[in-house]
Point group: C2
Chain length 283, copies 2
């Protein structure tokens, strides 16, 4: 029994060159499709780049959902009959969002606006207030989050409980020190996010440097046990990673005759995680 | 600046030999103390063993909180001026619990009853209904959970939000297949639990076999970045692992000038994780 091929197009992007970046992403998307991918994930803020000097610069590089970036992804989705999930610097009225879209041959199926903003993003973007979308596709239920969202397990639970079989995450993971022989910490968290929910996760990162930030190139596709099926590459480079994913497997949350990772939750006891602030110690 | 030594005593235990197990645990506890440990974690169901044939057998091996196991740990805690966290098969009235205690020189400071029951445990034990205790000790705030609890990030958030700097987890991790060169999946989840909360976690496992189950021997002590400071051993064996933990570091949840792993949470958006059952897809 085989599944479908999921791909991450780990691009090398140039800050402030949306036309060039769109062309590079288009080539990678079509390469992934040619290699058999049916669902393709692209990085966060893929056309614009990430390291805006200020909001004005982000504004100049932003575009609406009917701008050239999403229109181009729709064209590839229609040409190649693939689903594309990618991140963009979205201009919506007078607001900017760090957004991601899920696009298929029929057009934009979902827009997600990053709810957990990292580093200086809060100076540029309005945070999203809507839960990660979960889209019924021909391949199964596919959800979308962005980068730092992955570090909030409560947030990842929402699409998982809504039946997501594959979570797609455009990311830009900046390099930070780590012990020798360790995977990027971001990958470890993705492995845990997948395993505690028994769903697939495809996180698509970037490579290269941008205004002093080195991107890890840690793109990874993990299975419902949390094991990487593809990536992270030991020598990160631009290109596509692909993995065969039996999305049907993610519908089964059982881990044994007595256990189910969702049914075993005890939501009646979790109320305090909705409180803000830090409680006092119990004794 | 150095911290305090935290230890996990990864024991080789014999099912149904509580006196022998207590003696083995006592030796390991005193060894850890001699090597400088100030907080020592022992396995889950440490004196009784884990693989009960039925509830009656568990009942025979259970003991109350003033039984010989906890009394013995109190004696070591007083002799050696250490904090002991260990798991026991607790008899409370007519009920059995998979429990853990935190004991210091003054006596039992906290009792925790496992809330998420694994495998056949639900046939034997009553599940706990109280949040993980967080105890103010002379070294900082120390919390307690047990084994499968670690796979529920909502549950781990509770003590973390209550200020736990070190989470102690008695565990019995059964061996399951995993890809070559991968750590046990349980360890990966502990790494993520620690990192998303920026706290230390010490999980103490067992080695050896018991009625057809091989225990991993995956004891690990991880830091607030999620990196192992000690363990898991590549060749698991009985003995103590120790790590110097600057518990003060776990009070700082910042990861940069704009970010704080707890303050960046958006609890107002998490309400749906308290709902039971599976929602329908968004579109």
């Amino acid at each position: 029994m085989s599944g479908i091929a999921v791909a991450c197009c780990q691009a090398r992007l140039a800050f402030g060159d949306p036309a060039g970046n769109r062309a590079a992403l288009d080539r990678l998307l079509r390469e992934a499709a040619r290699r058999g991918a049916r669902i393709v994930v692209l990085p966060e803020l893929a056309a614009s780049g990430y390291r805006f000097a200020d909001r004005d610069e982000a504004w100049q590089l932003a575009e609406p959902l009917d701008g050239p970036t999403v229109t181009g992804w729709h064209a590839v989705a229609a040409d190649e009959d693939v689903i594309v999930v990618g991140g963009l610097c979205e201009r919506a009225g007078g607001e900017l969002h760090n957004s991601a879209v899920l696009v298929d041959a029929g057009g934009v199926r979902a827009v997600y606006r990053k709810a957990h903003l990292w580093d200086g993003e809060s100076l540029t973007f309005g945070a999203g207030d809507a839960a990660p979308p979960v889209v019924d596709t021909v391949f199964g239920r596919v959800a979308v989050v962005i980068c730092y969202d992955l570090e909030f397990p409560e947030w990842i639970r929402l699409p998982a409980l809504a039946g997501a079989q594959l979570l797609c995450a455009p990311v830009n993971w900046p390099s930070t020190p780590r012990p020798a022989r360790e995977r990027p910490a971001e990958v470890v968290r993705v492995q845990a996010d997948a395993a505690v929910n028994r769903m697939f996760i495809a996180a698509c990162d970037r490579v290269g440097a941008e205004r002093g930030t080195d991107w890890i190139g840690g793109s990874v596709i993990v299975d419902p046990d949390g094991w990487p099926l593809a990536g992270p590459l030991s020598a990160p480079a631009a290109g596509c990673i692909l993995a065969d994913c039996r999305l049907e497997d993610a519908r089964d949350k059982r881990t044994g005759p007595h256990n189910d990772v969702h049914a075993d939750r005890r939501p009646g006891l979790y109320r305090a995680i909705l409180e803000t602030g830090t409680a006092t110690a119990a004794s």
